[in-house]
Amino acid sequence: MSGRGVLLFGFRHLLRLYPAGFRQRFAAEMLELAEAAEPSEWPLIFSDTSVAIARSWLKPPVASAVALAVRSDQYLSLGESAVKPLKLFQGLALATVLVLGACYISTLTVWHLPSYPDDRVCGKMPAKIAKR
């Protein structure tokens, strides 16, 4: 396989990282563009596409109510949010279970948290250190 073939092979696999909708719409065309590109353009093609892939996953879909609200700096009420109250409740329940679980585990001396010689006076300095 030639150097160009290797680059195209790598680029084809890089395009697989796009969200499915975008990939189906533009990946074939992007590959054609890469095939037509000059060797000097390959660093730009790879770096630009990698950054764009990361952005495409970080950016919410334009059509979503949340995205529209963020764009126009509006406060979004619960009723307008794309996140349903049931999902919020599930999240709250999961967070509660996790916090209670962590509290319970911390009581079981599993983590071996550091303790002072005299637990009753947390702020009291050991005598050796106080003499210095």
């Binding site: 065309e29 563009l33 630009d48 892939i53 334009v62 059509a63």
Partner: protein
């Protein structure tokens, strides 16, 4: 009175260059890349990731349209063109930039007078 396109805010550099490239003629992806490089005299280059992310947004907004063109070998190639709303947006953006440049010139000339 608000100008047309004002509610959309300023265009990104990439979107502006893409609309400018398409104002000349309808182009395919690589053609847009080359046109952007040419019109900016090499100072701005757009990669495929930025190009297609912007094209997706511009298509969704209706500022750019797409069409299929039959090539000599019988294959179909997708090309993009500037729509009338895209042209309005481009004109509004150029007007906004003109105002900025005019304001900047006035201020800089005052600085030149002060320094002279």
């Amino acid at each position: 009175m608000k100008r047309k396109g004002a509610k959309e805010g300023p265009l990104t550099t990439a979107a502006l260059h893409i609309l400018l490239a398409l104002s000349e003629s309808q182009l395919h992806g690589y053609g847009i890349m080359q046109s952007v490089k040419r019109q900016s005299e090499g100072s701005y280059r757009v990669g495929p990731g930025t190009l297609y992310a912007n094209l997706a947004g511009l298509l969704d907004k209706g500022w750019v349209g797409e069409t299929q063109r039959k090539m000599e070998d019988g294959s179909l190639r997708r090309e993009y063109f500037l729509t009338s709303s895209g042209e309005q947006m481009l004109r509004a953006e150029i007007q906004r930039l003109r105002q900025i440049v005019a304001s900047a010139r006035r201020r800089l000339s005052k600085l030149d007078e002060r320094d002279a």
